[in-house]
């Protein structure tokens, strides 16, 4: 028995055909990343130099304790409500901008892609156009849009809302498209093959499989919109950002830290909201 086993040829080692490509990709990543880190002057050890630590500690000490002056808290409450209003109205408008563009841009809802059907080229051109619009909307930072709209609408929350609607409309539309395309696309294709219009295929096939991801990303963007209002406040678009701008200019660290604690609370609220929505949609 052992003799016959010995005469068998040794089996050829089983080679994973994907291994070489993966190792290559890893090497390329390191080779590309290293000069980029050097270029970005990434020197984290400088943080630990004694002089720098002292400077940072002094700066942070200025933030303590958080301000609790009653008239400041009243201002803070008003600014918080304003920020929530800007973020919510901005996201609502962004949603209205994003959904039609995403529906047009989503490949898995394209009837003309089933077989080389009629209107295939026209459909592809339309999808490319929708994607181009989404790219244009989100390529320009919201703070630039805010500067533009402040010129037209004057200082105040209105400019912030419009700026969020434009930039976040582009972001939501792009990510909605990608979420809708990344789920199981067979249900949608089956419905389209049975003559369903694309809007029905969207709600009977794609949304049921991706509802949680769509909701989660939308709430996350709302959270980002709350934070973005800080930057936009600097350009006079109202809300917590404008308050933060004033506190920083007056070097009032206590007020700034109260504002930061408010942001922390709002992010926690967004997290809880997202969890509840996901549970409802599960």
């Amino acid at each position: 028995m052992s003799a016959s086993a010995a005469t068998l040829p040794a089996p050829a080692p089983l080679r994973d055909p994907a291994a070489r490509g993966r190792i290559g990709a890893l090497v390329v990543a390191v080779v590309v990343l290293w000069p980029l880190l050097a270029l970005a002057e990434f020197k984290p050890w400088q943080l630990l130099a004694p002089g720098n630590l002292q400077v940072m500690a002094n700066f942070l000490a200025g933030f303590l304790p958080p301000s609790t002056a009653p008239d400041f808290l009243a201002l803070l409450a008003k600014a918080t409500v304003e920020t929530l209003a800007i973020a919510t109205a901005g996201i609502a408008l962004a949603f209205v901008v994003a959904v039609p563009l995403a529906v047009v841009a989503t490949r898995s809802l394209a009837v003309s892609r089933i077989g080389p059907g009629p209107g295939r080229a026209a459909g592809a051109a339309l999808r490319t156009a929708a994607r181009a619009i989404l790219t244009l909307l989100r390529a320009i930072p919201e703070v630039v849009w805010a500067l533009v709209f402040v010129r037209a609408l004057g200082l105040g929350p209105g400019a912030g809302v419009l700026a969020l609607a434009v930039t976040y409309g582009g972001m939501l539309g792009k990510v909605y498209t990608e979420i809708l395309e990344s789920g199981d696309t067979r249900p949608a294709r089956a419905l389209l093959e049975a003559g369903s219009p694309r809007i029905a295929a969207l709600f009977y096939a794609l949304v049921p499989t991706t509802a949680q991801e769509l909701a989660s990303y939308t709430v996350y963007r709302w959270e980002c919109a709350v934070r973005a209002s800080v930057v936009m406040g600097f350009v006079g678009a109202g809300g917590l950002g404008q308050l933060m701008d004033q506190s920083m200019k007056m070097l009032n660290g206590g007020e700034a830290s109260s504002i930061l604690l408010t942001f922390l609370a709002l992010v926690i609220v967004a997290d809880a909201l997202s969890a509840v929505i996901r549970r409802v949609l599960a």
Partner: protein, 282 residues
């Protein structure tokens, strides 16, 4: 019954998949309106591809297709959509999102004929839940109408897919291994429901089946496929056991059947007798 003649004619059709695999070679198949045919053959014979070509979800790379005398690939987008709404496809793996309720999944068969507003409204309050339950009852699944699809077993989900096509009231029914996940009794019931749809409404029926005994029992005409070609196409009574063994020569000496634990020949002959007794068969 429909005003359109729904005969199906495939002339010398071939199909090469994008990866170069040649799934159909010069396949010709003519079905009169209201006829029913079973397509049998070993795995990889091209049965699924044939069903997809007949269902206008794949355009043949060569040759032609006519449904009701019309080449679907010459139609405009709206006319093609109307035609597709009359073609019902039962998929082997039902393309149904798990979060959908059964009633919604079944009523999705009507999306091709419903206006968009009704499709959307039906997501909140099912438009014709009674029709969905009737279709499900024919498949012994009536009590699950308001369950979610992710609570169903694979076999139950496959029957939901069949119920969708019954609900669609299609003029041409194409079933791709419609009972592959069902036990013998339910498989028999489900194929029987499709055949009843063919006999009662005159819907043209093409079913690819892996189980030879079901094909012999329920279908007056058999098409044998192997390597992308039609090997035989004859009345069931004229199909011999030798032809079947020849067709499945690559899969060993036992013919694939739905019935459990029974070896070929005696059972085969008995199935043949049953087929001869059925009304509508030769």
């Amino acid at each position: 019954m429909s005003d359109l003649p729904h005969d199906v004619r495939l002339v010398s059709a071939s199909l090469v998949h994008p990866n170069g695999h040649r799934a159909l070679r010069a396949v010709s198949l003519a079905l009169g309106a209201g006829e029913r045919v079973a397509v049998i053959g070993p795995s990889g014979a091209g049965k699924t591809t044939l069903v997809r070509v007949l269902g206008t979800s794949l355009k043949p790379s060569g040759g032609g297709l006519a449904i009701g005398g019309v080449d679907p690939w010459q139609l405009g987008a709206e006319a093609l959509r109307t035609l597709r709404a009359k073609i019902g496809v039962v998929h082997q793996n039902p393309p149904i999102p798990p979060r959908l309720r059964v009633v919604t999944a079944v009523l999705a068969g009507r999306l091709g004929t419903w206006p968009a507003w009704r499709s959307l409204a039906s997501l909140f309050a099912p438009h014709d839940a009674a029709a969905a339950r009737t279709a499900l009852e024919r498949l012994d699944l009536g009590e699950r109408v308001f369950d979610r699809c992710d609570r169903l077993s694979g076999g139950q989900l496959q029957r939901v897919g069949i119920a969708r096509v019954l609900c669609q009231q299609a003029d041409v029914i194409l079933a791709d291994e419609p009972v592959s996940a069902l036990d013998p009794a339910l498989a028999d019931l489900s194929v029987g429901a499709l055949v009843a749809e063919n006999e009662a409404r005159g819907a043209t029926l093409v079913a690819s089946l892996h189980a030879v005994d079901l094909a012999l029992k329920w279908f007056p005409r058999l098409v044998g496929m192997k390597d992308g070609e039609i090997v035989f196409d004859r009345p069931t009574a004229a199909v011999t056991t030798a032809m079947l063994h020849d067709l499945y020569a690559t899969e060993g000496r036992v013919l694939p059947q739905q019935g459990v634990d029974v070896v070929v020949d005696r059972r085969m002959r008995r199935a043949n007798v049953v087929a001869l007794k059925r009304p509508g068969c030769q």
